[in-house]
């Protein structure tokens, strides 16, 4: 940051951290205090006469403040809402002054490049994407966590190599790349290289570097609903497309996962997604439809199963799940009947119990209650 400030002649620098990450703030504060003590920050940086200080701004936690102009608004003490671009922050940013705004990861790379040379950085990665990238590998993966990898590895190498594959011997289904507004990549595209251009072609994005791995028990419609729930909540409300559009997407997805989907819903979703992508003011809205669009693109059959057959292939959507008790395995203990919140299970002790499917709400409590594995999904 200091190097960037020196390069453009900036006196003031900020680190914007969410207030929900107190540990990060404590550590950053210590680092800044240490730097000041060492004369790296202050009125005369390293005795050069160049003055620069870095302050911490604790954000109130709005997702949209990751968008550069919304972040600037928040820094200025205003409500975190994006500004119309242009003017870009490089022309008019913080307090309408030219500003440079970058991700921590980018600044971190700058220091490394200066220390080791551009050629060495460029030696890593692909034609379009150089260097390394940090990913948060999570989900149904054996070994999750933060990983820094050179650009150009394939997704398969990261997930099955570094991550060790899927937990509990389940089958890989998809990976959500780039955070809540990223896209879903199916197994058939696992050999895609991690590269801005190649990832973009799949409909996903590099984004924040999120990499959520899903197995066969994840319903892709429900997954899209989950992410839209997040983006709809985090929409700042400034532009109509994002404010109302994400809400409507979420409503339609909810309808589908609850077995109330209608013919034409998928087309309606696609049309809305296009409208939001074209009309939204900032990156949040422009990318919010990605989970919906990519799941429709790669898992259209799951949407159709929900809408036409009222069936959730992954068995995740509660409203579409039904359970039955295998009489051969049931010992008649009655544990499931006691757990059932809607009293859908009946029977006599020591003889097999049965589920009334008309009453069953698919919550799955019985499955968890059974010690003999007699309850299973239909």
């Amino acid at each position: 940051m200091l190097i960037a400030a020196y390069a453009i002649g900036a006196r003031d620098a900020f680190v914007y951290v969410r207030a929900e990450y107190p540990l990060a703030i404590v550590r950053l504060e210590k680092a800044l205090a240490d730097a000041r003590k060492a004369g790296i920050l202050g009125q005369s940086v390293l005795g050069s006469g160049f003055a620069c200080d870095i302050r911490i701004k604790a954000g109130a936690g709005a997702f949209v403040c990751g968008e550069e102009t919304a972040l600037i608004e928040s820094l200025e003490g205003s409500r975190g809402m994006p500004r119309l671009k242009p003017p870009f922050p490089a022309e008019k940013g913080y307090l309408n002054k030219p500003s440079n705004i970058n991700n921590v990861e980018t600044f971190a790379n700058v220091a490394w490049i200066i220390l080791n040379g551009g050629a060495k950085f460029a030696a890593m990665g692909t034609e379009n994407s150089k260097g390394t990238k940090v990913f948060a590998l999570t989900g149904k993966i054996r070994r999750g966590g933060l990983v820094e990898i050179p650009m150009g590895l394939t997704l398969r190498e990261v997930i099955f190599g570094i991550g060790g594959g899927i937990r509990d011997g389940k089958r890989f289904k998809a990976v959500q790349m780039g955070g809540p507004s990223g896209g879903c990549i199916p197994e058939s595209l696992l050999d895609t290289r991690i590269d801005y251009k190649e990832l973009g072609a799949t409909g996903a994005i590099m984004g924040s570097g999120g990499m959520v791995v899903m197995d066969e028990t994840t319903c892709m419609v429900n997954m899209a609903k989950f992410f839209l729930d997040f983006t709809a909540r985090e929409s700042c409300g400034k532009c109509v497309h994002c404010r109302i559009g994400t809400r409507r997407l979420h409503e339609i997805l909810t309808r589908i996962t609850e077995g109330r989907g209608k013919e034409g819903d998928v087309e309606l979703l696609e049309e809305l997604c296009r409208g939001i992508k074209d009309g939204a003011l900032c990156g949040l809205g422009q990318t919010a439809p990605n989970p919906v669009l990519t799941t429709i693109r790669y898992f259209r059959d799951e949407y159709d199963a929900h809408i036409c057959e009222r069936r959730c292939p992954a068995g995740e959507c509660a409203a579409l799940r039904k359970f039955w008790i295998d009489p051969a395995k049931c010992k008649g203990c009655g544990a499931c009947a006691r757990k059932c919140p809607v009293k859908a299970i009946s029977g006599e002790p020591r003889s097999p119990y049965a589920i009334d499917s008309a009453k069953c709400i698919g919550c799955g409590s019985c499955e968890g209650a059974c010690k003999f594995g007699a309850v299973s999904r239909v």
Binding site: A232, G237, V240, C242, R243, I244, R247, R248, E251
Partner: protein
């Protein structure tokens, strides 16, 4: 006065279909909209404040000459709306005075001529030129009028009584309903039958009573329940001594000494409902009745007179064909002549009630303005969706009785043509007005949202979903905010901050649930509001409104 120049007249005579739609009717009974209109008009006239609504600047028609054929409700309304736009208007009428059917069809006891005169005088005072005693075909050809103006409006009404098509209807003593109402011949000692069940029939029978008739019958082929006339008119006619003969249909009028002596009536019964749900009368085979009388008034409908207007393209009903922009077409169109517009009873579906003709006339004036401005005319905004009144809970409203105007006693009023209704008193009018649920949107005419939705042909309901969860109303000094109409466009917030330099209101909450509120939801935060109204003006829907002081 914004809509039409005849509120005192219409308030008295209108069968007020609006009251059937009034939502107060779901509480107990609708607001007396017509009576209130008459009261407001009379009261402003009494105070000497009766005046035209402000001129319309955009689009202005200064220097444009418009001639109007017909000085009835349609012609006068059109003249008024065009004069407000600065046009030079000339109204031609065949009768000695303006007012059309309001003057020559509506009896004095319902609409005193002086009331109507005050309203036509106002139109004249705006510079509209009245030419009376002028009949197209006799005094000039329609084509001649087209040469003297930039646009011509035909609003000549429906002045011919429909015939019954039965033997004997040409006899002396058989009159058309509207002809009778216009000429008002004395009927001393006569026995009169009025045929028909509409408002014209009621006007005719009650007028016949006042003209000295010994006995007055109303002959109608269905029962009282199916009568199209207003209930109050039927009741008041009964009070005045009119006898009703229901389920009787005239089949022949018999003569003695060359004039009417009796009418043969077919006895009817009600059969299957027709497409409108009204039960169709069917004859009872072989059952007849004879009514001794000397005068028959046919009030079964009225038609337009095409004489002088033959060059205009007609509908298969014989009325003038006008398109959705009220343009009429000449059969042999010559280039360079003024365009012809047509509205009112003479057009398309034919005779209706005055307020329908007035509504058409207002739109005709807008269409003419659009024509001169080189724009396409679009009829009213309409609605995008309406809440089903059946699903609104009206039980929260306290029931209050509907105020109705007092009427003179029947014995007194049947002897003269003095006004039957005494009109609402000031106390009654206030009580009645306070019953209003204010269910309409005050900003409907200026709503940008509905205009955009219409212009862009948006199917708003296709993506209907959860509603904005905002509270119904909050008061903000003198400004009322209806959050349910708010689209969170943020214009009021911006205008308050950037133009008024106050920044008193802001957005609270995120995304879909965003509402506009004083900073920190603190009512004290708006104490600095100077009531500059910039936010009210900026609001594109009707979410903000200035409260009356």
């Amino acid at each position: 006065m914004e809509t039409f120049p005849l509120p005192a007249s219409i308030g008295r005579v209108c069968p007020h279909p609006c009251e059937r739609k009034c939502r107060r009717g779901k509480v107990e009974s609708p607001i007396s909209i017509a009576a209130l209109k008459a009261f407001a008009a009379d009261e402003t006239r009494r105070r000497g404040e009766f005046a035209a609504a402000p001129a319309i600047a955009e689009p202005a028609l200064a220097g444009k000459r418009v001639s109007i054929v017909g000085g009835g409700p349609a012609g006068l309304t059109c003249a008024y709306q065009l004069a407000r736009r600065g046009a030079k208007v000339k109204v031609y009428d065949q009768m000695p005075e303006m007012g059309g059917m309001l003057r020559y069809g509506i009896p004095e006891y319902r609409l005193p001529k002086a009331v109507l005169k005050a309203e036509t005088d106002l139109i004249a005072s705006m510079g509209v030129e009245f030419v009376n005693g002028f009949k197209i075909g006799r005094d000039a050809k329609l084509a001649d009028l087209r040469r003297e103006c930039d646009a011509l409006v035909v609003a000549n009404g429906a002045w011919r009584s429909s015939p019954m098509r039965i033997p004997g209807e040409d006899l002396e003593g058989v009159l058309g309903g509207i002809d009778f109402l216009r000429e008002k011949p004395r009927l001393d000692g006569r026995t009169v039958a009025v045929v028909g069940g509409g408002n014209t029939a009621m006007d005719a029978c009650r007028t016949a009573v006042r003209l000295g008739a010994k006995a007055v019958y109303v002959v109608y082929r269905r029962t009282r329940a199916e009568m199209p006339a207003e209930e109050i008119e039927i009741v008041e006619a009964e009070e005045e001594g009119v006898s009703f003969k229901f389920l009787r249909n005239p089949v022949e009028i018999a003569a003695a000494d060359g004039r009417v002596a009796a009418m043969k009536l077919q006895v009817m019964k009600l059969g299957e409902p027709d497409e409108k749900g009204r039960r169709r009368p069917v004859p009872v085979e072989g059952e007849f009745e004879e009514l001794k009388l000397d005068t028959v008034i046919m009030a079964i409908g009225q038609k337009n007179d095409p004489a002088g207007f033959e060059q205009l393209v007609a509908t298969d009903r014989g009325t003038i064909a006008a398109d959705s922009a009220y343009r009429a077409a000449f059969k042999d169109e010559a280039p360079g002549l003024a365009p012809v517009f047509a509205c009112g009873d003479a057009v398309n579906r034919g005779a209706g009630i005055a307020i329908q003709a007035i509504a058409q006339a207002k739109e005709t004036a807008e269409s003419i303005a659009a024509h001169f401005a080189g724009r396409a005319f679009e009829s009213g905004l309409g609605t995008i969706s309406a809440r089903d009144p059946e699903r609104i809970d009206f039980s929260v409203y306290e029931k209050k009785p509907r105020e109705t105007a007092a009427v003179r006693p029947a014995a007194e009023r049947r002897a003269d043509f003095g006004e039957v209704s005494k009109g609402l008193t000031a106390e009654q009018a206030q009580a009645e007005a306070s019953r209003c649920l204010k269910c309409g949107c005050h900003d409907y005419q200026d709503c940008k949202l509905i205009r955009y939705a219409k212009a862009l042909k948006t199917d708003v309901l296709r993506l209907r979903g959860e509603f904005h969860p905002a509270e119904l109303e909050t008061k903000l000094v003198s400004i009322e905010r209806n959050q349910r109409k708010c689209i969170a466009c943020n214009l009021c917030v911006r205008v308050c901050e950037e133009q008024a330099k106050k920044g008193l209101i802001g957005l609270v909450g995120r995304g879909f649930t965003t509402v506009i509120r004083p900073e920190f939801r603190d009512p004290a935060a708006v104490a600095g509001c100077a009531e500059c109204r910039l936010c009210v003006d900026a609001c594109p829907t009707g979410a903000l409104r200035l409260l009356a002081k």
